[in-house]
Point group: C2
Chain length 233, copies 2
DNA sequence: CGGCAAGGAATTGTCGACAAATAAAATACA
DNA sequence: TGTATTTTATTTGTCGACAATTCCTTGCCG
């Protein structure tokens, strides 16, 4: 379990690799919410001093992915089930506004990237690879957001989608294959609206799409109380 | 100019003070955009080792307030005049959505705080203290946003308002006293809508208020090209 | 006189170690 | 036996120093 990731670090890039590695592990729930983070252990694992490790942790803390108790332990941030309404509200708004802007500002180049990622998503659905579905769905919508060319929205949307990935991973066993298939179709419609530069339709479709996803997650949480109860308060 | 801020630092709080101090100085343009940041100098000034200084800088970098070129200098982030449209777009949306949520979720306690801050703003306008106006206006709208109780919106709105403070400070000499007086009245109307829990009116008023502010800043920039030309590209 | 290379100075990223603060264990006491 | 208090151990925050990289100067050559 305690494998060293990389032995060589080009000076100045050690912090980035630690940051990105931990970030992924947190989002993919390889590091459980609430679990403590041992600086010494990370120091050994990455073959780095504690100083760059700590700088990476500061960045993660700024992202809200870890929580540092001053002079005490630092832990992986818990998923805030009480604030889920806020989360869904913001997520829906960002779905809408980024898709709208995507329709208005997309370039032909953007369309290509979006189509590519939609293909990946469809493939994941066809293969019933739930983890890949969660990941490719995120990339698909972020590509549209990027086409919208507003970094403030992209930043917030990224944060929200990644937080969503953590939540979805808790329930991914509950996935059935009827809803995802529907998502593929909804994505296609959204792409068409973006191509047509039809902001209104894009907005409406994104709104419905977001509602769909929110409803799905809500039903997971409601039907499977065991998982949430397992998490420490 | 090189005064030591604090000699004693309760262990674990040195980083916070450095972070907050520098953050304020950047937002208030005491540190000019593009100006280099000397770690050694800060180390002397705060009577701290370079390690905590660097951690504070990492946090500022995550906020986008400073830009770090790896293995090279780190500078105060430049104001992105080319991306102003994105900025205004996001700012307007956050004005709207936070005021709307404020109207829906405010408690009597929130109203008290909002009223208090509106008083501060009116006072600043009466005294023609432009710098205080910029600051109190920000606090007023953030109080409404806080009453809306959605941390995602509050976070983004804070970031946007602080970026706006940097921009406004560049042009604050251009302030005339007719528009600010109008703002006081608009604030009063917004407060009333929030009290009435009238989300639609709150939204509409916030939207108009935001447009007003955006128009004002735009006119400043248009009429005073010298300032923008002074900034390095 | 101008461009390029080598050398030196300054600055950044990283390290190992120490000290303060907290958590855990051991002991004393009721 | 349970609670309070001291002792020990672990972990965090900070420090001073070193090494790698970049910047700047100087000298060389065309």
């Amino acid at each position: 379990m305690e494998e060293t990731d990389k032995v060589t670090h080009r000076r100045g890039y050690g912090v980035s690799t630690v940051y990105e590695t931990l970030r992924n592990e947190i989002i993919e729930l390889k590091l459980a919410p609430g679990s403590p983070i041992d600086e010494q252990q990370l120091s050994d694992r990455f073959s780095l001093s504690r100083t760059p490790i700590r700088e990476a942790l500061v960045r993660l803390s700024a992202d809200g992915l870890i929580t540092t108790l001053t002079n005490r332990a630092t832990i992986v941030s818990n998923i805030d089930f009480l604030g889920l309404s806020e989360f869904f509200d913001a997520l829906t708004l960002m779905y809408r506004v980024t898709t709208r802007l995507g329709a208005l500002n997309r370039t032909p180049d953007d369309i290509g990237k979006i189509r590519e990622l939609q293909k990946d998503f469809a493939l994941a659905v066809a293969e019933r690879d739930v983890l890949a579905m969660i990941s490719t769905n995120r990339d698909f919508h972020l590509a549209i957001a990027t086409a919208g060319k507003n970094r403030y929205y992209v930043d917030l949307f990224t944060r929200l989608l990644d937080e969503g990935r953590r939540i979805l991973r808790l329930y991914y066993s509950s996935f059935n294959d009827v809803l995802p298939r529907q998502y593929v179709g909804e994505h296609e419609d959204i792409i068409q609206a973006v191509i047509n530069r039809d902001a209104e339709t894009a907005d409406r479709l994104a709104s419905a799409h977001a509602d769909q996803i929110v409803r799905q997650i809500r039903s997971y949480i409601a039907s499977d109380g065991r998982q949430t109860a397992d998490l420490k308060i």
